[in-house]
Amino acid sequence: MTHDSGLKVAVVVFPGSNCEHDVAHALRAMGADAELVFHRETDLSGADGIVLPGGFAHGDYLRTGAIARFSPIMAEVERHAALGTPIIGICNGFQVLTEAGLLPGAMVANSDLRFICRFVPVRVESTDSVLTRNAEVGQILRIPLNSFEGNFVSGGSEPQVVLRYVDRHGEPDATINGSRIAGIANPAGNVAGLMPHPERASDAMLGSADGRILLESFLTSMAAVPA
């Protein structure tokens, strides 16, 4: 399924982001018009959707995402979030969204202090988000996880969980990085974050195309927002 409707996705680039090209490529392959937007820009009025990609914004200095949340572009991201524009944060992007308060909770280091770099199974827990609306509850997806600080803690909040890490039996598994939660969304469902990289599982050539359903959900959500 592709969307040839000229949907404009702004992929934000912070100093230290490194996944923006892969995300843009995956979205373009699905028919969207993805544009890289540097963090110093202040106008995203033409964006139908926004992606905060993975990487190491500001070298993860102070805390991962702590400085990026104050980038000039974030005022626009926050404005769009309030408007209901579909916004997804992938890995470091998820971290930036939690630091910005657009999503609850925070990240701490993986429980075994290892940088995890492998495919992990995640289960769709809710389709009430721009990330999962095309998927089915219970669906299991194999998507690469590449992170050191991907251990999501809710910190007393009760986030809407959209993706959970599971074991090979499909049961919730907190032994991957210490967290049971791989992806969440805000109550409105238009802002979502996930630690694994759907763009790295967007084509069979990459070893898994399971991430496509998440990106398709995002594009479908963008097409559904009244102009």
Partner: protein, 79 residues
């Protein structure tokens, strides 16, 4: 004027570095270790004359940037 900010992990929030270091110390033979917690020590230098005002500003710096209230507590003292 210089202020010392000490940032600590809130109770109940996972501290994987602390856990792993506890085990590492125990394996080195320090079996008496029951816990290790990591914090962060930040020195903030400000150009100011009024200590109370300056301190209040440093507290604001902690609230806005230096500490993440979801997972961290902090203290501020003049040094």
């Amino acid at each position: 004027m210089r202020f010392r900010v000490q940032i600590t992990r809130r109770d109940g929030i996972a501290d994987p570095e602390g856990t792993v270091t506890t085990h590492a110390l125990q394996e080195l033979g320090f079996k008496e270790v029951t816990g290790v917690a990591f914090g962060r020590d930040i020195t903030v230098e400000v150009d100011a004359t009024d200590e109370q005002e300056a301190s209040a500003r440093v507290v604001e710096m902690c609230d806005r940037l230096l500490a993440n209230p979801v997972i961290e507590d902090y203290t501020v003292e003049r040094i």
